[in-house]
């Protein structure tokens, strides 16, 4: 604990609850990670079938990964029934992690390439790119983001294929509260939208709210109960119950169990898998 001094009015700490110095606010969470705590607990990567991931590190920065998946995948259908076709694929990936540059590439057996690049152009400016490339024409997507981080604000400009432009901005207003807004314009579908978001976080809880003119209203509340959590479960208003367990068997060996039961659609999905490697 800091000993109270005569300078407390200009250099406060969160524990002492002194007068807030509005010129020294912390940098806010990036706009797209606003709902991060809620998504981590409520949207685990459930899957159906068998999954096996193996990651081999060649040195501190470079790793190769091999992943095998066998199971049914859903295809969208007009009727109320879900249609599942059994698929199997092998995915090869290469990751390069540097403090300034991160490259992440995955290639599947059907020729799709999933690429992510994150590059720190300077202390405050970051370039991120995300692309899914396929051999079929007109089915590839790419999105490039430029992020600028200021002292207590962040701004981002996005470019996507199909004439997609977006920008967002978030600012810390008090040490716990940050407010932000975004606009986007999609040339292909001639759509544009505006959205606003607010995030209030303390040591014990996080509450976020987001509205957008595309018709999204999202509110979330996360309360921290304990330090460790391995089993995640959720139940939602569609009558769908999900559980996800990630158990660490040994150093570098993770066992994953996932289950999703949708009572309304009578659709049951169970998956198990093994992850090897760091």
């Amino acid at each position: 604990m800091d000993a109270p001094t005569a300078f407390n009015a200009t250099k406060p700490t969160v524990e002492t609850k002194e007068k807030v110095d509005y010129f020294n606010l912390p940098c806010p969470i990036p706009y797209e990670e606003m709902h991060r705590e809620a998504l981590i607990s409520l949207k685990p990567e459930v899957f159906e079938g068998m999954r096996f991931d193996f990651t081999k590190g060649l040195n501190q920065k470079f790793a190769l990964s091999h992943s095998v998946f066998m199971g049914p995948t859903e295809i969208p259908s007009q009727s109320s029934e879900t249609i599942k076709i059994p698929t199997a694929h092998y995915e090869f990936g290469a990751n390069y992690l540097d403090p300034k540059l991160m490259l992440f590439g995955r290639v599947l057996t059907d020729g799709r390439v999933n690429a992510r690049v994150k590059c720190d152009l300077s202390d405050n400016l970051t370039l991120k790119a995300n692309a899914q490339l396929t051999s079929e024409p007109h089915m590839s997507h790419c999105m490039v983001n430029f992020d600028y981080k200021g002292k207590d604000y962040r701004s981002q400009f996005q470019l996507g294929n199909g004439a997609l432009f977006g920008a967002n901005y978030i600012q810390s207003v008090t040490p716990n509260l940050s407010l932000g807004g975004e606009v986007f314009w999609a040339g292909q579908h001639r759509k544009s939208g505006v959205g606003y978001a607010a995030r209030y976080s303390t040591d014990k809880m996080v509450a976020t709210g987001q509205v957008a003119s595309t018709g999204i209203v999202a509110l979330s509340y996360v309360q921290k109960v304990s330090e460790k959590c391995r089993l995640r479960g959720k139940i939602d208003s569609n009558g769908c119950v999900t559980a996800f367990l990630e158990e660490r068997l040994n150093m570098g060996l993770n066992f994953i169990l996932s289950a999703e039961v949708d009572h309304r659609k009578k659709d049951y999905k169970f998956g198990f898998g093994l992850t090897v490697g760091e």
Binding site: L58, L133, S140
Partner: protein, 81 residues
């Protein structure tokens, strides 16, 4: 001609409206052909960039990784252990 110019990669930016309104004077038809040529060139460039990224991204990551310190050996790259 119009079908050649349109693809997912083209960032329209209102160039279609440019073509519609300017068919009368000769200076604007010069601009017209320059816009068309620019669009065709950028389309060609984007297509080539997409093919290069599709085939070359993973090899690029591997090359950058193999040249980083400490240098891993080729046998480590190919063996499954």
């Amino acid at each position: 001609m119009a079908s050649k110019g349109v693809s997912l990669k083209v960032k329209g930016k209102g160039s279609a409206s440019k073509n519609k309104g300017s068919s009368s004077s000769s200076s604007s038809s010069d601009e017209n052909s320059m816009c068309k040529a620019l669009k065709d060139w950028s389309n060609w460039g984007l297509k080539k960039a997409k093919v290069i990224a599709h085939y070359g991204f993973i090899p690029l990551v591997i090359i950058i990784g193999m040249n980083s310190e400490p240098k891993p050996s080729l046998s480590q790259l190919l063996s499954p252990v």
